[in-house]
């Protein structure tokens, strides 16, 4: 067996037994890709079935390239939000710029192939320690952001949401997750499977000429990473071409238009892991068909490529159609002549490369020679790994004492605000175009979630947030997964949007190690609990395993969640910066003694067991209160409480008033003892990360707000806004400009 293959001996035996012969070289590479963790989800698929996937807004749940959620109706048309969530972790660790850029390129294709227009992207990122300017970690952190901006900006899609965390356990394995959002009329969805009448239809490949780049990429992403192994990493190197992608997208939109005019249902799918083989096998198999492909019909970048490279290589910027033969010439004309693909990139084009067959075999021909002939269901659907796991037990918070730091409050604030998980992300996201296309309502930094009004003239809008806290995951993957959902939901609610659906990307270590697999099992269970509690189903997702280096350094369990929210009326959205002095500030949330996983504990250099618990009933009541208050126009601003706790949330709301040509607005927070009634200590009240929101209510609206809040527990009046540039906590006042200077500098040194 070739050295580069990751198939296990038992898998090889199973293939040979089923085929009744030794597999060919091409078949070996095909099974290697298709049975990789990346393509097959062999150790996670059965676990993921436990996640809730149905709900009132779900138009299309998991199973195709993207999920679809109903957003709103306008002029008699129902509009859906298409969402996909992927990872490009291994490639980004090896070639950060290209890895991250092709991550965006891939996720965008997942949206396009549903017949949708791509309207936004988001980028949850996790990096190692970046303090050393000459470190590989710094190189990765910079290259990834450059790659995302270079690709996203070039295709003209706004980046509206994201988050970033830094931790030594990402030193050897960064995480580059990408989310893309599309807009589609629900009557015009195209599916990623061959339609029922597709026997004999053409299989048409579109895009860049196939080369050797990305050969072995799927299996590369499904084994432990050695960033220094240049030979093994060849499969990681995929070459982005956003300018070609831009033309491909526009040409595809033109094909959508033609299909609508003719009322024809077809299949359309993006080429990702497993290349031509993976895509053509899946699109035909999921329609109940087989396929026959002629590899000599594939447009290649150089002559003499072996059949397995043409079949399985992961050259970027390619899509695949299943079309009735009478339609093929017109589709080829649109791509090749109207949009001149062959003149845009070397030998790029659309070409018919095969046929859908009723016979349930997957056949590849290299000229007259058959190089692959296997049962298609065996290739695409039969592999499953039942791996052992244990139930994880997390330590509870220590009982009954208020936390003491022995550090002055000004120093604590300084250290927490400068922490890389807290400080301003603006040096990073300012590289991204957040407003291109003119539909962005709230760009990054303006609120807890990005907001887009996707349909011109329509009042509704879509909110998007991505979240997942690795400090929490280190302590308790089960509860941390719930917090990932809770925070994503909370951020969407903070802008006045009702959460309607979720996606997840589950980034974990080696599933064949029982502790890592146990973390995955625990996290999926946690996601299910939170998803059900918030009545917000999962519609799409991805699993990225083997995020572990050769030296055994694995990432912390990293379930990362994206939440889509629906805004009925974009005029009612709520932003983060404080608006006026004299407002009353309320905390919607109940501080807890638990400080485990908090930034505070991190800056103090210690450890503390026990994550905050989630009171779902109270959280739901708070979300409902916030949404009703927003709809009634009672909220001047709102912000979720997460990294750094209430103290940071208040600072950030006040920071938003700086540099806007008006007088800054400060905060006077009442002594925490007054509003916690001694339930927790000051430190827990200020820096605890149990969640919740801060909302700003005009003095004139206090009565109405409190009427809405009647009977809701955990609503605390905590202070007022003031016309002085300070954040005052009880009797101590801290200069807002000083605080802002600390907060805005940490990442500015990394993203110069």
């Amino acid at each position: 067996m070739p050295k580069s293959l990751a198939l296990r001996d038992d898998e090889l035996r199973s293939i040979a037994e089923r085929l009744g012969r030794e597999p060919s070289q091409t078949e070996l590479h095909a099974f290697d890709a298709q049975w990789s963790e990346h393509c097959s989800y062999k150790s996670s698929r059965h676990l993921l079935k436990a996640l809730p996937t149905k709900g009132a807004a779900v138009v299309l749940g998991p199973g195709e390239d993207s999920g679809i959620l109903h957003l709103g109706e306008w002029n008699g048309e129902r509009y859906g939000i298409v969402i996909a969530h992927e990872s490009h972790n291994h490639p980004s660790q090896v070639v950060p710029f290209e890895g991250a850029a092709t991550g965006i390129g891939g996720i965008v294709r997942d949206i396009v192939c549903m017949g949708a227009e791509v309207i936004a992207v988001a980028d949850p990122l996790r990096f190692g320690r970046v303090d050393d300017p000459l470190s590989h970690q710094r190189y990765v952190a910079q290259g990834v952001v450059d790659g995302i901006s270079a690709y996203g900006n070039a295709i003209g899609v706004p980046n509206i949401a994201g988050d970033v965390y830094f931790d030594e356990r990402f030193d050897d394995n960064c995480l580059v997750n990408v989310v893309a959002i599309g807009l589609v009329k629900e009557s015009e969805i195209i599916h990623s499977f061959a339609p029922p009448n597709a026997d004999g239809w053409d299989i048409v490949l579109v895009g860049k000429a196939t080369d050797a780049s990305g050969f072995g990429g799927a299996s590369f992403s499904s084994v432990t990473l050695d960033a220094a192994d240049e030979d093994a990493n060849k499969g990681a190197v995929q070459v982005p071409d956003p300018f070609l992608k831009n033309v491909l997208m526009r040409a595809s939109y033109r094909v959508f238009e033609m299909l609508r005019e003719r009322g024809i249902t077809v299949g359309f799918k993006d080429l990702g892991a497993g290349g031509i083989m993976g895509c053509s096998a899946e699109i035909c198999s999921s329609g109940g068909f087989g396929a026959e492909i002629q590899l000599r019909s594939v447009n290649v970048a150089l002559e003499g490529l072996p059949p397995e490279v043409i079949a399985v290589g992961e050259t970027q910027e390619r899509l695949l159609w299943v079309l009735p033969p009478e339609l093929t010439p017109e589709v080829l004309r649109i791509y090749n002549e109207e949009y001149t693909l062959p003149q845009i990139a070397r030998n790029a084009r659309a070409a018919a490369i095969g046929t859908v067959t009723a016979r349930q075999q997957y056949v590849l021909r290299d000229g007259e020679r058959i190089v692959m002939d296997v049962p298609i269901e065996f290739l695409t659907g039969s592999i499953r790994d039942e791996l052992p796991y244990e139930r994880l037990e997390a330590a509870p918070p220590p009982p009954g004492r208020a936390f003491e730091t022995g550090v002055q409050l000004d120093e604590l604030l300084e250290r927490v605000l400068a922490h890389h998980d807290v400080c301003s992300r603006e040096p990073l996201y300012r590289r991204y175009d957040g407003v291109v296309r003119g539909r962005t309502v709230l760009a990054r930094g303006e609120a807890d979630a990005g907001v887009i009004a996707p349909v011109p003239g329509a009042p509704f809008a879509m909110a998007l947030s991505v979240d997942g806290n690795p400090r929490m995951s280190k302590l308790d993957p089960h509860l941390a997964a719930q917090h990932a959902v809770y925070e994503a939901v909370r951020n969407v609610v903070a802008v006045g949007a009702r959460p309607i659906g979720l996606t997840d990307c589950l980034n974990f270590g080696n599933p064949r190690k029982i502790d890592h697999y146990s973390e995955l099992v625990a996290a999926i269970d946690g996601l299910g609990i939170a998803s059900r509690a918030f009545a917000t189903p999962f519609v799409s997702g991805n699993v990225s395993l083997y995020n572990e280096s050769k030296n055994g350094n694995a990432i912390p369990a990293s379930p990362i969640v994206a939440c889509v929210g629906a805004v009925d009326d974009v005029a009612q959205i709520v932003t983060l910066p404080l608006k006026r002095a004299g407002s009353v500030l309320y905390l919607l949330g109940t501080p807890q003694r638990a400080l485990g996983g908090s930034v505070l504990i991190d800056v103090l250099g210690g450890s503390e067991p026990g994550l905050p618990s989630i009171d779902y009933d109270e959280a739901l009541a708070h979300h409902e209160l916030l949404l009703r208050a927003a709809k009634a126009g009672l909220l001047r601003s709102a912000h979720d409480i997460s990294d750094g706790g209430l103290a940071v949330a208040l600072c950030e709301m006040a920071f938003g008033t700086l540099g806007r040509g008006r007088a800054a607005i400060g905060v006077q927070l009442d002594d925490p003892f007054q509003w916690t009634h001694g339930g927790v200590g000051d430190i827990e009240a200020l820096f605890g990360e149990a969640g919740g929101h801060v909302v700003e209510v005009a003095g004139a609206d206090v009565e109405a707000f409190e009427a809405l809040a009647d009977g809701v527990t955990g609503v605390h009046e905590i202070g007022v806004t003031i016309d002085r540039p300070v954040v005052a906590i009880g009797p101590q006042a801290f200069d807002l400009h000083w605080l802002h200077g600390i907060w805005s500098q940490s990442l500015a040194q990394v993203y110069v």
């Binding site: 090896v94 070639v95 290209e98 590989h136 190189y139 910079q142 290259g143 080369d211 780049s213 240049e230 990493n233 060849k234 990681a236 190197v237 070459v239 982005p240 071409d241 300018f243 070609l244 970048a301 003149q343 845009i344 990139a345 070397r346």
Partner: protein, 135 residues
């Protein structure tokens, strides 16, 4: 030192396509980052300096060549970028053009390519091979 891509170079292909549309037919175009060090030092020492800097050289996508001379090769123009200088090295973008028979293009073709596309005279300066004998 010339640091080039060993993965497909879209930028080079775009330049080739654009030049062809501007009336300069080519067989292929190579692009590389050129570093000319001022202080004399053994080639392997200079190569080590370049390869240690990951933002300049990533072995997973780059290849390094030690040039015979501190001047463009036949068929190659070096474009000097304003402000793209290291403390002890001059930095250029090298474009090497190949024409019929995969031979380096002549000086006139090179000058035409620089003038029409590769060099923006407002902010860049083109350096050509010192003489045709270097071919």
């Amino acid at each position: 030192m010339a640091v080039g891509l060993k993965i497909p170079d879209n930028e080079a292909y775009t330049a080739q396509t654009a030049l062809e549309r501007l009336g300069i037919p080519l067989a292929r175009v190579e692009r590389s980052a050129i570093y000319v060090f001022q202080a004399p030092a053994p080639a392997d020492e200079l190569a080590a300096r370049v390869t240690r800097n990951e933002s300049v050289f990533n072995p997973n996508k780059h290849r390094l060549r030690v040039l015979d001379a501190n001047a463009p090769r036949s068929g190659e123009v070096w474009i000097e970028e304003a402000g793209a200088r290291w403390a002890d090295a001059d930095r250029y973008v090298g474009w090497r053009l190949f024409g019929e028979g995969d031979r380096p293009v002549d000086r006139a073709t090179l000058e035409a390519a620089a003038e029409r596309l590769l060099c923006n005279p407002a902010i860049e300066r083109a350096h050509f091979p010192k003489n045709e004998e270097e071919r």
